[in-house]
């Protein structure tokens, strides 16, 4: 059949051999005649290791958020004009609409890098669909994701209460302000910069922080998060 030297059974034979090796090492554990409960898998699970379901659900949240980002970006132009006319820098109140992905991802997945990954995926999706900020959307995503991630890290990825979510939102808001002021509003006045930053912080706290926390809690209640710690803590064993 194949002239490349690998016969039909080649790779799979090597595979079964590998499995046998692992099984042999596992057999040294106590047999099942004692009806003690045994751990699933051969190693103690690391609390911070990402499972496949963590990656996929974080991506789903990211993709869904990315679409919202894109819509928000379309709405940004007409909405920001009157805000800006009222007070330049006020348009940053809309900034939270781009920050919630990271906070929500962090709250649901609860593993290191979740906020960064989710925000980045959301940015990639909104960039692919087409925004005026183009490739630099990815930079925004990275910076904003880091803003939330750093806050969660400061709490050692162990505290997921509402105030931490709000702080994470503010962290992302601060990152957004720095990003925008350096890249897009480089020619603006100091007052503008201050107002912009303050509004970003407020928007981040409310739209990204509080709203994400409520959304995460609502999700947990629907049972959709039963494979996650964030879902199981909503109710005791039932």
């Amino acid at each position: 059949m194949s002239s490349a030297g690998s016969s039909c059974g080649g790779p799979t034979r090597a595979l079964t051999f590998a499995y046998d090796e692992r099984a042999r090492s596992v057999r040294t554990s106590p047999s099942s005649t004692e009806s003690a409960t045994t751990a699933v898998g051969s190693s103690r699970p690391d609390r911070f290791r990402w499972r496949v379901v963590d990656i996929v659900v974080a991506s789903v949240i990211g993709v869904a958020s990315g679409l919202v980002f894109w819509l928000w970006g379309q709405a940004y132009n007409p909405l920001s004009a009157p805000l800006e006319a009222a007070l330049p820098g006020l348009q940053a109140l809309l900034g939270g609409g781009w920050l919630f992905a990271g906070v929500l991802g962090g709250l649901v997945i609860r593993k290191p890098g979740a906020a960064l990954f989710t925000e980045l995926v959301a940015a990639v999706v909104s960039a692919i669909v087409g925004t005026q900020w183009a490739a630099l959307t990815l930079v925004s995503g990275l910076v904003q994701g880091l803003g939330a991630e750093i806050v969660f890290a400061l709490f050692l990825y162990a505290n997921w209460r509402a105030y931490v979510a709000v702080l994470a939102g503010m962290g992302a808001g601060l990152a957004l302000a720095i990003n925008d002021l350096v890249l897009w509003y480089a020619g603006a006045k100091v007052e503008f910069a201050i107002i912009y930053t303050v509004c970003s912080l407020i928007s981040g706290a409310l739209l990204a922080g509080l709203l994400s926390w409520l959304a995460a809690r609502g999700l947990a209640r629907t049972g959709a998060l039963s494979r996650f710690a964030s879902g199981r803590e909503v109710s005791a064993r039932v």
Partner: protein, 484 residues
């Protein structure tokens, strides 16, 4: 030519049990089961008997320590099932949630890539697997353009390409129309023949698999094995019991309350020269003339893609007719000026036409069952007393009272279906439109639903139902509208 260089796998469970982290009760407890290499087993049991849990454990995808605890031993080919990924292949129930990549060839190749198979061998296996399951499509065909039956066969091909020794099928045909069911069953039969791999199937429709399997195992809820042996013998001995717990056995059809009143009342809705479309301009069907009367049930039947759902939604006043008109008689429209339902406000629709969607989850709006039932009456601005009265009545009638404070998304499939029908009944519409009401249901939920609808028809309700289900049509329908 055999496809599997991997030998057929043997399954061995000794006192095996599993408990999910968020539950107190063990999903499976003390299971003792031996399956020989090459055997074909049909796994039956009431819902909650832990069949799916067993399948997931055999495939090695049941989750880690943080998700549950295990006791006893479960071995596949002599190795612990949890560390033997790649020996067993699993096909799941939902066609849409198993498609991983955007192109047919890539999706089938995915499993091989994960197992470290060299590139040219991968594509050879892809071609062979697609051939085995009868999917004659180009490798770059988009997976989003496949029908349900095709998607399930694609999943089977993906599993097959990994050359598993154990093929596990978890309700593979539950979400398919009859055509898809036949396609998948034939593909599995072919695959079982040619690979000789061990086969374990869970399904609640027995007649589909009866001739393919050589052994039936019935699991008891939360416990061990209830019955085990030759299909004919087990089904004869346990048939009545199994049928009562939801399995579809042709010799023991589900019992339901028949319709008593055969007469019909006045005309409610007329469709004349109706043309339907999902998107303006792309007409699906044309020239339809339909009349809906009180106390009569009309079934809309036809093959996939013929536009049955579109027709139902157009009659229900949710989609705009592309041609012709849908008109309500004064008996239905009442004091409203306009006779076409599409121009009614959604509050006006509530008391006139109720729609039950194919996927109950699309209709859920609230976080408890009680609030869910109150949505309709509250939108009508009935007083609190009246709202509570209606909600209590429905909770009792549809046996949802013990779930009054539960979140709708956490209900079982049958309970969700009952809830979606209950929410529609809360506002007492004269016409009921149902989209595939018995889709994927086991025989118990089926008979509950049919009995309920029969009772409503006796009370003068008018019903339009889109359905593939010939039994449903036979039990309830007075007229049939066939879309080509």
């Amino acid at each position: 030519m055999t496809l599997a260089p991997q030998p057929p796998a043997a399954v061995s469970a000794r006192g095996w049990g599993w408990r999910h982290a968020s539950r107190k009760a063990w999903a499976v407890d003390g299971l003792d089961l031996e399956i020989d290499p090459g055997e074909r087993v049909l796994l039956l049991g009431a819902s909650g008997a832990g069949k799916s849990t067993l399948m997931h454990a055999l495939a090695g995808v049941i989750g880690g320590d943080d998700e549950g605890e295990q006791k006893g031993e479960l071995l596949v080919s002599g190795q612990r099932a949890t560390s033997a990924r790649g020996i067993a292949g699993l096909v799941l129930q939902d066609p849409d949630s198993q498609v991983i990549l955007a192109r047919v060839g890539d999706d089938v190749a995915f499993g091989c890539e994960n197992l470290g198979v060299p590139r040219d061998e991968i594509w050879r296996r892809v071609a062979q697997s697609l051939d085995e399951v009868g999917l004659d499509l180009p490798l770059d065909h988009p997976t989003s353009a496949l029908s349900g039956g095709q998607k399930q066969r694609l999943a089977l091909a993906g599993v097959l390409a990994m050359r598993p020794g154990l093929i596990l099928l978890d309700e593979p045909t539950a979400n398919l129309d009859p055509e898809g069911v036949a396609e998948v069953r034939d593909a599995v039969a072919r695959v079982a023949e040619s690979t000789g791999a061990t086969l374990v199937v869970i399904e609640h429709r027995v007649e589909v698999w009866r001739d393919i399997v050589d052994r039936v195992v019935v699991l008891a809820p939360g416990g061990g094995v209830l019955a085990d042996g030759d299909p004919r013998r087990v089904l004869r001995d346990r048939g009545a019991e199994l049928s009562a717990s939801g399995v579809w056995i042709p010799e023991f059809p589900p019992r339901f309350t028949q319709r008593r009143v055969a007469s019909s009342g006045g005309r409610l809705l007329d469709a004349a020269g109706l043309g339907i479309a999902r998107v303006r301009g792309s007409r699906i069907a044309d020239g339809l003339d339909i009349g809906l009367d009180e106390g009569r049930a009309v079934a809309i039947v036809g093959p996939n893609g013929a536009g049955k759902s579109t027709l139902a939604l157009t009659l229900a006043g949710l989609l705009r007719p592309d041609a012709g008109a849908v008109s309500a008689t004064p008996a239905l429209a009442g004091p409203l000026k306009s006779v076409s339902p599409i121009s009614w406000r959604s509050k006006d629709l509530l008391t006139r036409i109720g729609t039950v969607f194919q996927d109950p989850e699309h209709q859920f709006l609230s976080s408890t069952v009680r609030d869910e039932l109150s949505v309709g009456p509250r939108a009508l601005e009935l007083g609190d007393v009246e709202v509570d009265a209606r909600v209590d009545e429905l909770l009792e009638r549809l046996r949802l009272d013990h779930l009054a404070l539960a979140n709708p998304f956490t209900l079982s499939g049958g309970e969700k279906r009952r809830l979606s029908v209950a929410t529609v009944l809360a506002t007492r519409p004269k016409l009921l439109v149902l989209d595939e009401p018995t889709f994927g249901q086991d025989s118990r939920t089926w008979s509950e639903l049919v009995s309920l609808l029969a009772g409503l028809l006796d009370q003068g309700q008018s019903i339009v139902a889109v359905t593939h289900d010939a039994d449903f049509v036979a039990a309830l329908a007075d007229d049939e509208v066939r879309l080509a």
